[in-house]
Symmetry: D2
Subunit: 249 residues, 4 copies
Amino acid sequence: MKVGLVGFGRTGVKVASVLLQSKETYLEWVLRKSYRLEHRSVGEFLGIETDEPGLIYSVQDISIDTLLDLQPVDIIIDFASEEAIYNYGDAAAKRKVRILSAVSHYPPETIQKLKELAKETVVFWSPNITLGINYLIVVAKYLKKIAPNVDFVIVEEHFKEKKEVSGTARVIARELGLDENEIKSIRAGGIIGIHEIICGFPYQTVRLIHESVSREAFGNGAIFVAKNLMNKEPGFYQFEELLLPYFSM
Amino acid sequence: MKVGLVGFGRTGVKVASVLLQSKETYLEWVLRKSYRLEHRSVGEFLGIETDEPGLIYSVQDISIDTLLDLQPVDIIIDFASEEAIYNYGDAAAKRKVRILSAVSHYPPETIQKLKELAKETVVFWSPNITLGINYLIVVAKYLKKIAPNVDFVIVEEHFKEKKEVSGTARVIARELGLDENEIKSIRAGGIIGIHEIICGFPYQTVRLIHESVSREAFGNGAIFVAKNLMNKEPGFYQFEELLLPYFSM
Amino acid sequence: MKVGLVGFGRTGVKVASVLLQSKETYLEWVLRKSYRLEHRSVGEFLGIETDEPGLIYSVQDISIDTLLDLQPVDIIIDFASEEAIYNYGDAAAKRKVRILSAVSHYPPETIQKLKELAKETVVFWSPNITLGINYLIVVAKYLKKIAPNVDFVIVEEHFKEKKEVSGTARVIARELGLDENEIKSIRAGGIIGIHEIICGFPYQTVRLIHESVSREAFGNGAIFVAKNLMNKEPGFYQFEELLLPYFSM
Amino acid sequence: MKVGLVGFGRTGVKVASVLLQSKETYLEWVLRKSYRLEHRSVGEFLGIETDEPGLIYSVQDISIDTLLDLQPVDIIIDFASEEAIYNYGDAAAKRKVRILSAVSHYPPETIQKLKELAKETVVFWSPNITLGINYLIVVAKYLKKIAPNVDFVIVEEHFKEKKEVSGTARVIARELGLDENEIKSIRAGGIIGIHEIICGFPYQTVRLIHESVSREAFGNGAIFVAKNLMNKEPGFYQFEELLLPYFSM
């Protein structure tokens, strides 16, 4: 599976490192905004020995059409910003290159754009692409079906400086039909990220907990998704659709 | 749903209390070994106001055939000992009364007996009948399918005096294909019962935790199972079979 | 140590059970409001074999002066209501009988009354008399001295029906100089009671957690306190004063 | 407080970063084994703007006597290997430069060497220099004094590849007088490091938990220790001695 990565910020770098070390993906190139590091390779930059090219290009210097013709890929993985899709989207769709976006937020018109591209190619979007979080959302929803009267409370813990309520916690709340009051946000020290779904029964408690160890988790999530997109027809996909088949086996 | 309860020990009493207070079950009678409390009712004994009979009988004083003719039930719920099935099993099967056993251990020949009775009526057995534990086992197995390389470790915490490894933890280990070395048993103070399945990924950790608050949880589990058995054909059922349909909806 | 127990409600009964089974206390009597159970003994009522009298009296039937003369005690343990002290306080103080109150709330004028009684005898009051909670408060305060910049957040979990914020959590917040916004209250199912003090450092997290298993914990706390009051001079004491000596050894 | 750092491996680099960004320390130099990076500065290497020199020297190129004369420091912080003390120890002691070693293990003869150096200068050694762990050990020991019958169990969780039992867990066990059987080691995925001391009472449970977020925690621990050593007389110190004064205030 040949991969092109768009975005090389704090998360993008970690994702690139995971892609480079995975035997399931072959990292052709990284496309980033700034000039810095151009023409170097990810392997050299991160000190990882590899025979995958992983060349670093700047959007200021190469057009996406040229890049896709020069070094074709099976899938573009996007950890950049909400505008990036307007740069690479059409060129990818035209060539049936799959699009996997892990951008954390899109305005409605960009989601519309994704859906248009999905007429031509496979388009996937998830604002939190870790396997663990998405798994917990799915199984918590099943628990709600099994035991409709269970009390759900969501606790999310993050570092002191994080101002707003965790976006992931809000997605969990929405998926479980909970009011945002049922999200308890804890801010203390340097906690990377913990999400807990407390499921209260009259005489027992179930706790579903996700703890982030590091941003590389996004890279592993992206690989899981990419593999599951390979055999899909053009269309717009979200994480839950990729997980559900595992539950009906 | 008319219920007869077999067994009125420490757990049986709690289960009776839940059955009596549930609007989904109608407790006809309790059958116990000893003479004590005979002819009193569960409601009177527990100080619960109810119009359900809940009469307490002793096996020393009434035959199960007489009892089933006198006060017929839809299901027998068994929280007694491993021999009890030999007392009521045939009489129940003959009358197509469903059998729900929550006895924690049976020798192989008794399991064989259950399966023979299952030719005539619905027979269910679960050594741990809480909804929470059985839900966690099912979803942990799904996680293993989704992410075959995840590291599973089971931690179980109980009161200091509990000698052996938790039977529930051993069931979890078996279901996940784990060696018993992967069960860590903690014995301290008066902990009622905690089971945790730690699911270790390279860059994230998922924790699936069940905490027992009190033995009444068994009563709620029994009601959930009983409801799900009402529309079943004769046969031998276990908890997982009742849960799986919720996951393919 | 001869003990008289005032109050025989839901918590009082559990405390009586612990006192009766402890070798460190000798339960002379229980004084309660209602007539029910009068002249029976705690041992008989709870089905505990013992040679301690544990006679159950009603305030409607015997004066506290008569009771203290008839069956003198070293300490009165009060798990009743906020008015009870006005019934037994003066009679106890006059006889130098120690007073240990675990009543959860007193109006200011009753606290004043306690302090007046403390001129004559040893008077102790704690609104949460478990050893675990009081230990955690003391050690969290030490942590604040050691690392003044640590971020503290208090999480308390209780059963769904509990309306108000946990009084214990409010005491913890006050002792740590925290705003009540730093208390996160979780209400779900039948959780008995969990208090967690999260201590966030830039690169590490310390968690101090207390989990209640059952109300008997109050009995053990009362015994710990009673023992520590035996050699004290008349005066007004709180839990922290009894714990601090252990920290300077 | 002028600091010289010995060791610039995986942990040393993180500690250097914390020292450089702390207003309480002034990083004069780093001394490392290899030639790599020589004459560069820590600030330049880590991309941190600073006016602290933080020059990187190699032991192959400069003698410690020359270095200490050229760029004198108040304290040497050692995150290198167990042999490093033989390189810088005598030179430091002669100049009354304090020595703070965070090396995780020393053979008995090296501990003897530390104690000899301690006749001349302040020498401190701690195999785990995080504030959180040392705080938990101290407060757990106090709990044992307060409640001698509490059941202690230690749980330590680390990444799958970690072979041996955590050295920190063994220190906790030794300090609490526990058998090593009371340490439960969990190995799963990429868990950085969690240590939990479970304190079981008959009717309540106290949990004292330490979670590592990143190696920088060692840097903050070193700063805490360094500050507390500034006003000390020559002698051999361990972490507990620095913490105890906070508990008698």
